[in-house]
Amino acid sequence: MSVEHHHEEHGHHAGHHEQTFWQKYVFSTDHKVIGMQYLFTGMLMAVVGGFLSYVFRMQLAFPGEIVPFYGLVTPASYGSLSTNHGTIMIFWVAMPVLIAAFGNFLIPLMIGCDDMVFPRLNRLSYQIFLISAILILATLFLPHGGFAGAWTAYPPLSVSEQYNSTPYAAPLWVLAVALEIVAFLIGGINFITTLMNARAPGMKMFDVPIVIWMIVLASVLFMASVGPLVAGAIMLLFDQTIGTGFFSPAKGGDPILWQHLFWFFGHPEVYVVLLPAMGIVAEVITVFARKKMFGYRTIIYSTIATCIISFFVWAHHQFVAGIDPRMANVFSITTLIISIPIAEMTFLYIATLYGGSIQLTSAMLFALSFLVAFLIGGVTGIFLGSTGSDIYFHDTYFVVAHFHFTFFPIAIIAVFAGLYYWFPKMFGRYMNETLGKIHFWGTFIPFNLIFLPLFYSGAAGTHRRIYSYQHFSELSIPSVQNMQVIATYALLVLLAFQVVFVVNFFWSMFMGKKAGNNPWNANTLEWVAPSPPPHGNFQEMPTVYRGPYEYSVPGRDLDYWPQNVP
């Protein structure tokens, strides 16, 4: 019903009057514009998150020295820098870019409809997200500084200003996270409904491209896991502001309860951002290897299995947190079980390259390097998921390195793969390939040089969230401290090379070589629409005849077979 109604509305708009600037770019209900708003907001927040990491990495490498463009890092500001780096990168960069930006831009285009089924709800979702982003940035400038209780916000530290010394930032930080979650709940409803109801005629569920499957499954996973966190966030807010005692032992509460509520969401959240990233990589490697996805259905089934198992692994973050030691074994078993579908998916991606015709474009380089890096992130997780070894590695830099070997490929490398790949569709022009390759090497090599040394730091016993290791005689020895210095220099190189990307991105947007509708000879439906797609997307609504990955089909002259071609 709503879909039918919606089609009419668009016809009306397109036919009758020109939209003003405000209607077209600011308060638009067009999924592409909202997607771009999420993308640019996410990129701006990435600049903030990157700057925060620059400041605290400088402090770690050169403790006590003045950081250029910032000043002196105090223990309080160090806590705030690392806390907000984590919070911003996860909630205001990875989620808006991977789910909201790519989801909004791609879902209607790739399933062949003219917009989301709830365009106004979509508008509301971004509006709430924007408020939450402004709020989290504002907490950095409050008196007493930003919240410094780590992105996990464990009580009782996060509850009382007596403990955390940030009376204003702590509750506002919780509020900002809660608002961000509301925005994504609304967005998720929209994504799921759109995929279920608005697919092009002829498109069965197993004709849907993997990236769309993944974004929608991620939305389902997010919606199913976030409830306890919202409840927990409100309890925490009440503890902070009106003196309840859900998490205060003095009032009969339990601080461990928060950890359960947080990680019940927090672990599925890893897969919420992983899945869209794997989806992007699937699209890119099939196009640039000219190959059908190896075991398409197996990938979908493995993803569903991963989603389900991800609800039963959360306490692996809490092995030494004071839970019953017998329970740790149960969660260790489920954690190693989840390695199986993820390993299976990785094998399927590698197998897809077999017999291919691989063209190493910038997008393909990023997509392949995602696999290279994510393998390292995946296997190092085994050290942390197995109870015996986690006793030692818990809360050390080994965890930091492992986490970033999963999250950096997800939130940065896969996003770059997606941007280089869909840029011609987004803006109708190519990005410069030479600059793209310079940017790739300038990102991937320093990334490894930041985090590989930190595995060693962690193995040497360096704990996290400590502003200076000079107080610890065994950790300030050169062999350990030099790791911090290498990581910081590598970060500076990495940040410098992002300038290449920014220049390439904005220059290409206006001056790049013009791209046709289907510059990569790809099969999926977004490449049927004009580049960039107008309001309403398709000149003629497509009909789907086959799955999305029919590349190099024997007996055809062309090595691709678009989904809409009979």
Partner: protein
């Protein structure tokens, strides 16, 4: 491998290092294999003029075996890792050998307090010795620790002992360790606990029984003098 980075100073250290080494060799081999195949494919199947990619669906039985065999091997290796991980976990965390002595460890913003049993080796008597940020233990003695916190979460973590346990306000958590190597070792609070988290350090001294007794006596004198 781990013992080259950090000394093994407790009876648990060797078994925890064993499981770390085991995982290292297993996942290291898998990693090299997987990355090797990935790079081999990338190099071998680079685009060549006039060569079309193969059409492989990956849904036929004989194609899926290339996934199912490694998939089942992953399962086998997961089980191997789990057996040893749970064994080590049981030995370190679940099973508690009888204590020779018991100590209290109290975390607070931002220091560690230790209550050592005095010469009578019994906790809760008048000759208990309380210290801040200095922890003295005897070699080859099984200690039970009673871990408490008076404000926020802290974590009692001695890397050289491969020991880690979070402290929770309102609870007393009991664990154990047995030092096996003389010397003094750093330790840090391992759970963020506020702005002083970075200076919440302490030092553990593993001593011979004679040294330990001498230290206890010197402390007893301090106490009697100050009284």
């Amino acid at each position: 491998m781990m013992e080259h980075i950090l000394p093994q100073a407790s009876s648990s250290a060797a078994s925890i290092d064993f499981i770390i080494d085991l995982i290292f060799y297993i996942v290291g081999a898998w990693l090299i294999l997987a990355e090797g195949i990935l790079f081999y494919f990338i190099i071998k199947y680079r685009r060549k003029a006039g060569v079309k990619a193969e059409y492989v669906t990956g849904e036929k039985h004989e194609e899926m075996k290339w996934i199912h065999i490694p998939h089942n091997l992953v399962l086998v290796f997961d089980v191997i890792i789990l057996i040893f991980a749970i064994k080590v976990w049981y030995e370190v965390k679940q099973f508690q050998p009888p204590a020779d002595e018991t100590v209290r460890v109290i975390g607070q913003q931002w220091s560690w307090r230790f209550v050592h049993p005095g010469l009578d080796k019994v906790l809760g008597t008048t000759d208990d010795v309380e210290t801040v940020d200095d922890f003295h233990v005897k070699i080859d003695t099984t200690y039970h620790f009673q871990l408490e916190s008076i404000d926020v979460l802290h974590s009692f973590s001695i890397p050289a002992f491969r020991l880690k346990q979070d402290a929770i306000p309102g609870r007393v958590i009991t664990g154990w360790f047995k030092p096996t190597r003389l010397g003094q070792y750093d330790f840090q609070c391992a759970e963020i606990c506020g702005i002083g988290h970075g200076i919440m350090k302490a030092r553990v001294f593993v001593e011979t029984p004679e040294e330990h007794e001498k230290w206890l006596k010197s402390r007893a004198q301090v106490v009697s003098v100050s009284n």
